[in-house]
Amino acid sequence: MSLSVENLSFSYGQHAVLRDVTFAVEQGELLSVLGPNGVGKTTLFRCVLGTLTPRSGQITIDGLDLTAMPPRERARRIAYIPQIHPPTFGYTVLDTVLMGTSRQINAFRQPKAAQVRQAEEALEQVGAAHLRERNFAHLSGGEQQLVLIARALAQQAQVLMMDEPTSALDYGNQLRILQMVKRLAARGYTVILSTHNPQHALAFADRLLVLHDGTAAAVGKPPQVLTPALMETLYGVTVDFLDTASGPVLVPRVEGGGA
């Protein structure tokens, strides 16, 4: 499934947050959304997920208008993977993943064997089947993020939206989660992932959307889009780009000489 956003604008009262944002993601692609804090990444996500109604513009999925779609229909197509946060009530991992199947189940009914099977398959896909009976609240950050990915897979939607999935994780888990996401894209999922780390975008994304001042400052292949000048505009910092065998590497310029 491909997702396309055209001339999307959103404002809170008089304050314009997004202006004429246009981009598209094809099936099997991983799109990274990069931009400083408060630039409108979350607002963009909320518009696509339907929590917020855009002021103007179009969001379509395989040509179908997403903004007019009832939540249940939308949930068939797009799944959301939030950042991990301490849960109020810890459920077992299997019960947590089962929640992803809720769009298939009438409100007055319980999940049946079919749903449990989907949840188990989703856990296997992310390599977390062994956590099945554990309490979600007692897992490590990396494991929790894996389980939330599995929950989205159990929803059986083809587009996955991830809101800064690595921000609460240590270095190793950041890379493991991103590799997992990359594999999902290779299996045909369309992934939109917001990030704070340009290096991650360079290493993992097929396409990059750079948000600046509520507009799409650049869209395209990460190595072509990301430049020292853009980093300067976005974050107000000076960064050197080193060309290596595995692609460009960002090195911050450290005042006073550095290492």
Partner: protein
């Protein structure tokens, strides 16, 4: 598609507890008939109760039958119903507010009922009038809280909590004012006693009055018990799964409120059940409402029946059950909270 879900460790553990709790409740239910100043042997209790369903030759005295059917049965039934209802309401509210400290009085259902009861006593209404007005005032209070919360912008859960606190304190002030102007020789003691919460003098009419709203609250919650879990997620997460959280929350609040209103209007203020029992049930069967709700229902009935037995038998003068639940509930909760392995 009709294939049943395979059982996990959590399922099996929960099923074991449900069976144990049901057995304990049944045993306690029968034993409760034996307790009291007039002696009725337990086998006679069983025969008297069965004689209502199947024809049996009478081996018991008329006084035994009156003690069992007219005096003890309504009270025992009501203790079970109220315990079950308050515990279920507490569990439901905890999910709505994503907070294990939420209790049935969180949206003002109790303070509204107290105001209604105090007003009815002031107006000189009879027992039925007090119950009816308490029930109505309780529902009106929560409706007010909900309407006000919907008019505030921002996080619905926080708005509900805030408007609940405000309206509750308004009705508490109203109750205090009624106590001030009430006749100190007969009305004031009646109000004070009612507010303490008691099941003494329960008649079959009270059980009948409570039964319908309780069923109306319990059955939808039981059917929705898996869905309720989704309320404990963020609004955004629930919505992205295709769940209409606002509508679901309204239904759950409505059911929990009817349960609280029905309980408080027939028994007065009985605190702690709706907080301690859900919490304790979480320890036994976990947080998933598929298992939690049935366990909390049974445990709530057991707890209140047990406390009511103490209430009517411990001393020659009956101790109001509302006081006892706090005496037993508070230390028990402190014990739970201070245990080393405490995890919510």
């Amino acid at each position: 598609m009709l294939e049943r879900a395979p059982k996990t460790i959590a399922d099996r553990r929960a099923r074991l507890w449900i069976v144990v709790l049901a057995a304990v409740l049944l045993a306690l239910f029968l034993v409760s008939f034996v307790l009291g100043r007039y002696d009725v042997p337990i086998w006679q209790v069983v025969r008297i109760l069965l004689s209502r369903v199947v024809p049996l030759t009478q081996t018991w005295t008329g006084n035994m039958e009156i003690a069992v059917l007219n005096l003890r049965l309504p009270r025992i039934l009501l203790a079970c119903l109220v315990g079950c209802a308050l515990s279920t309401a507490g569990t439901a509210y905890q999910s709505v507010f994503r907070n294990p400290m939420a209790a049935p009085d969180i949206l003002g259902a109790s303070s509204g009922a107290c105001f209604g009861a105090a007003l009815a006593i002031l107006l000189g209404l009879g027992r039925g009038g007090v119950t009816a007005l308490a029930f109505a005032a309780s529902l009106v209070t929560v409706a007010l809280v909900y309407i006000i919360a919907r008019r505030i912008r921002g996080n619905q859960v926080v708005n509900l909590l805030l408007s609940g606190i405000m309206i509750s304190s308004l009705f508490s002030a109203g109750t205090s004012y009624i106590k001030l102007v009430a006749d100190p020789t007969n009305q004031l003691p009646a109000i004070t006693y009612w507010l303490m919460g008691s099941l003494s003098g329960t008649r079959m009419q009270d059980v009948a009055f409570a039964l319908l709203p309780m069923a109306a609250g319990l059955i939808p919650l039981l059917l929705l018990r898996w869905r309720i879990n989704l309320l404990t997620l963020d609004e955004e997460e629930a919505r992205s799964m295709g769940v209409n959280a606002t509508a679901l929350r309204l239904v759950v609040i409505l059911c929990a409120t009817v349960l609280t209103a029905a309980s408080v209007s027939v028994s007065g203020m009985i605190g702690w059940v709706g907080l301690v029992i859900p919490h304790f049930s979480r320890k036994l069967v976990g947080n998933d409402c598929r298992r939690l709700l049935p366990a909390a229902m049974l445990l709530g009935a057991i707890f209140l029946l047990l406390v009511d037995n103490v209430s009517r038998n411990l001393l020659a003068v009956e101790i109001p059950i509302g006081i006892l639940t706090a005496f037993i509930g508070a230390p028990f909760f402190i014990y739970l909270m201070t245990r080393k392995e405490h995890v919510l």
